[in-house]
């Protein structure tokens, strides 16, 4: 269990001079659970491979507990790696699969037994130790793979999309088990995924990458409420943040032009006076919008319900707003509220949920 630092790390692939990772700097504290999230091509997998020692670092340094590990091989770094594909030894039973990394390092007898049983207990594998991997369902195989990765108390645990293809029920159980295991064993974990929901579920802090670069690092709450740029605002959250074209009226107000005149919105926070009169983009999360059936004056805009998608505990409405661009916007409403296609409704944006962007840049200081 270590503190892991990346200092100005670059990965440049010689073929075609492709930049995989660009000047990446962040720290994963001891016992922290970090998730690196980004779309494909964002550099997250290259970062993972450099941390694991599977790929050379072109420039910069990776440090474990203050010591540079650039030139150490994967075994010397003592990094545990669990992939989505289980890669278990099918000719060995579950016990021997888990014991494998210990035996490979010369550990013997009672010591191996103690460690295998300890980790098996934590992952609920005690009853299947004698079985062979191929006789187990996918969820259990995944747990065996995790147990094998974690049995030798690694300095750093790297998880590469380990649960993205599990079914609903298994996924929730694995999520819970991974989080609990991390806490019980005091691990330092870095989890790489393209799935923002998975990342949000498990991590203490989130590292958002895009086009080989770090976009933002922070707690889920920070990233949710104070995204560093428009990409982060859009990428984190499903359904994604709505963007509506507007203009700054004064230091506390923006407006959205509509064929029936301006709709004004008070926002919370401060902006630079130079933006007064400027055209900007208003961002609002679908999960934070209040929806009314009757006209309200303050901070509202009308819309017409276009599509209704029931999701069980909630419903997602897609609405044609009454602004000049007829922007399509989404809102998440409780499932007990019934709407019909063509209903006129009012979206209310509370001052604290309003984000403002000048191009990619957020302009409200909070």
């Amino acid at each position: 269990m270590s503190r892991v630092e990346l200092k100005n790390v670059w990965k440049i692939y010689p073929r075609g001079n492709v930049i995989g990772v660009k000047d990446l700097t962040f720290t994963c504290e001891d016992k922290e659970f970090l998730a690196i999230v980004g779309p494909s091509g964002s550099g997250k997998s290259s970062t993972l491979r450099m941390l694991a020692g599977l790929e050379e670092i072109t420039r910069g340094e990776i440090l474990f507990d203050g010591k540079v590990v650039n030139d150490l091989d994967p075994a010397q770094r003592n990094v545990a790696l669990a992939f989505e594909s289980y890669a278990l030894y099918h000719r060995l039973n579950v016990y021997e699969n888990i014991a494998f990394p210990l035996r490979a390092r010369g550990m013997k007898g009672a010591q191996v037994d103690k460690k295998v049983k300890e980790v098996a207990e934590l992952l609920g594998l005690t009853s299947v130790l004698k079985k062979y991997p191929s006789s187990l369902p996918g969820g259990l195989q995944q747990r065996v793979s995790l147990a094998r990765a974690l049995v030798r108390k690694p300095n750093l645990t790297l998880l590469d999309e380990p649960i993205s293809h599990a079914d609903q029920r298994v996924r929730h159980e694995l999520r819970a088990r991974i989080r609990r295991l991390h806490d019980d064993l005091g691990l330092t974990t870095i989890y790489v995924t393209h799935d923002q929901a998975e990342a949000i579920a498990l991590c203490d802090r989130l590292v958002v990458m895009y086009q080989a670069e770090l976009q933002q690092i922070g707690t889920v709450e920070e990233i949710w409420n104070r995204p560093a740029n428009r990409f982060v605002a859009y990428f984190i959250g499903e359904p994604a943040m709505n963007f509506i074209e507007g203009q700054v009226e004064d230091l506390q107000t923006v407006f959205i032009p509509t064929p029936g005149g301006k709709r004004s919105f008070k926002f919370k926070g401060e902006i630079d006076p130079k933006y007064v009169g400027a055209k900007i983009t208003i961002g609002v999360r679908p999960q934070q919008i209040s929806v009314y059936r009757n006209k309200k004056e303050e901070n509202t805009i009308a819309g017409s319900v276009r599509i209704i998608e029931f999701q069980g505990d909630k419903t997602v409405l897609t609405v044609d707003l009454a602004d000049e661009n007829k922007t399509q916007a989404k809102a998440v409403v409780p499932a007990r509220e019934k709407f019909n296609k063509g209903d006129t409704i009012w979206f209310h944006f509370a001052p604290e949920i309003i984000h403002l962007f000048d191009g990619d840049t957020p302009i409200i200081k909070r």
């Binding site: 609903q168 609990r180 806490d183 799935d195 498990l202 599509i307 999701q311």
Partner: protein, 371 residues
């Protein structure tokens, strides 16, 4: 547009019964989903409706006429397969235009008219800039949308869509789902839709069936399926997290009925006792039943909520946007509770739980729930 009716349809592959007697009606203009796990027989049903697979017994009707003997091209259906089935030597444009050129439909579109139709559906699905490419130069998600565009480009009596968005990444999946719903609204098309993903089925369908090993387990609106699952199987297939299923003992004492497990005991309100009795089973001399409750119908608090509440230690907490899922480890399963907003409970902390008995169900045991 057509109404499609299945009457006791059976499909045998040798001795294996893939579909064991399925009946349902998809009304004209309806979006009708078949939801089920892998191997339930979903695709087989779709292929029988399309005419690609023979029907072993039973009848399929289009607008009241039996179509059992009609070959696929006589049925006027349009189908998208999960496995894309694109013509590798044709451009995306030609792949999408293919059904418009089939002599069978006698459309005889002018090149301009054809281009208009192809571009319209391609732009709608966000692949308008890929028209000149060959399939081999597309990602899986792009191929899937081309396959979907090809299925939707021609007006058909019935659209049969088999997992048409399964291979899209999460973001694209949700947006394409919205587009499909819009397509269905705009064209009032009859659509039969096969999926293993309950979210798609709930969001898209007017009505749906849940299929299990070749038989219909439940038929209804998405609300019926979500709020009133007919069995533990349906409850577990639908929901995120799925419905909690807990096995326990029925105890009667002083005229009161209790549901008791190794972890907790609750009094069951009188209105539910009858349904509980119907779902009882005997095991090793004990009277057991299975309780089902959705994660959002359980209340959590640091303080005692009521006499019906009980305490459990938290296993762990995972967060979602604007909500949290708190898990508890029970003797034979995990229990999940969804809370609104970010919650500040801690691992191992003991908290009070209360089940909302208006949303509590009792089931016979038909699925395994072990951890």
């Amino acid at each position: 547009m057509a109404e499609v009716r299945l009457e006791n349809v059976v499909k045998l592959y040798g001795k294996k019964r893939a579909v064991k007697g399925v009946s349902f009606t998809c009304k004209e203009g309806e979006f009708f989903s078949i939801l089920g796990p892998t191997g339930a027989g979903k695709t087989t049903i779709l292929k029988m409706i399309a005419g690609i697979e023979d029907i072993t017994s039973g009848k399929i009707y289009f607008n009241g006429h039996v179509v059992n003997e009609l070959p696929p091209q006589e049925r006027n259906v349009s189908m998208a397969f999960e496995s894309y089935n694109l013509y590798p030597h044709m451009s995306v444009y030609d792949n999408i235009a293919f059904p418009l050129r089939a002599p069978r439909w006698g459309l005889k579109l002018s090149p301009q008219e054809e281009r208009k139709r192809v571009e319209e559906i391609a732009n709608f699905l966000g692949i308008g800039d890929l028209l000149e490419r060959l399939p081999q130069h597309l990602s899986g998600g792009q191929k899937q949308r081309v396959s979907l565009a090809r299925a939707l480009v021609r007006k058909a009596e019935v659209y049969l869509l088999d997992e048409p968005i399964a291979h899209l990444d999460a973001r694209l999946k949700f947006s394409t789902q919205t587009l499909l719903k819009e397509f269905a609204h705009n064209y009032k098309s009859t659509i039969i839709y096969v999926t293993h993903d309950f979210r798609e089925a709930l969001a898209l369908s007017d009505r749906m069936v849940v299929l299990r090993k070749g038989l219909i387990e439940q038929e209804g609106t998405p609300e019926d399926i979500y709020y009133r699952p007919a069995s533990d199987f349906v409850g577990r297939l639908v929901g995120d997290p799925p419905m909690n299923l807990i096995d326990g003992e029925i105890i009667t004492k002083d005229g009161k009925t209790f549901f008791k497990t190794g972890d907790f005991s609750i009094r069951v309100k009188d209105e539910l006792v009858e349904s509980m009795e119907k779902a009882k089973r005997e095991e090793n001399g004990r009277t057991l039943t299975r309780l089902g409750i959705r994660p959002e119908h359980i209340k959590l608090s640091r303080n005692k909520i009521s006499d019906d509440s009980f305490q459990l230690p938290i296993y762990t907490i995972v967060h979602e946007a604007e909500s949290s899922v708190v898990s508890f480890e029970l003797e034979d399963t995990f229990l999940y509770v969804r809370t609104e907003g970010f919650c500040d409970y801690e691992e191992s902390e003991k908290v009070w739980l209360e089940f909302d008995q208006n949303h509590m169900f009792f089931y016979k045991k038909t699925v395994e729930i072990s951890k």
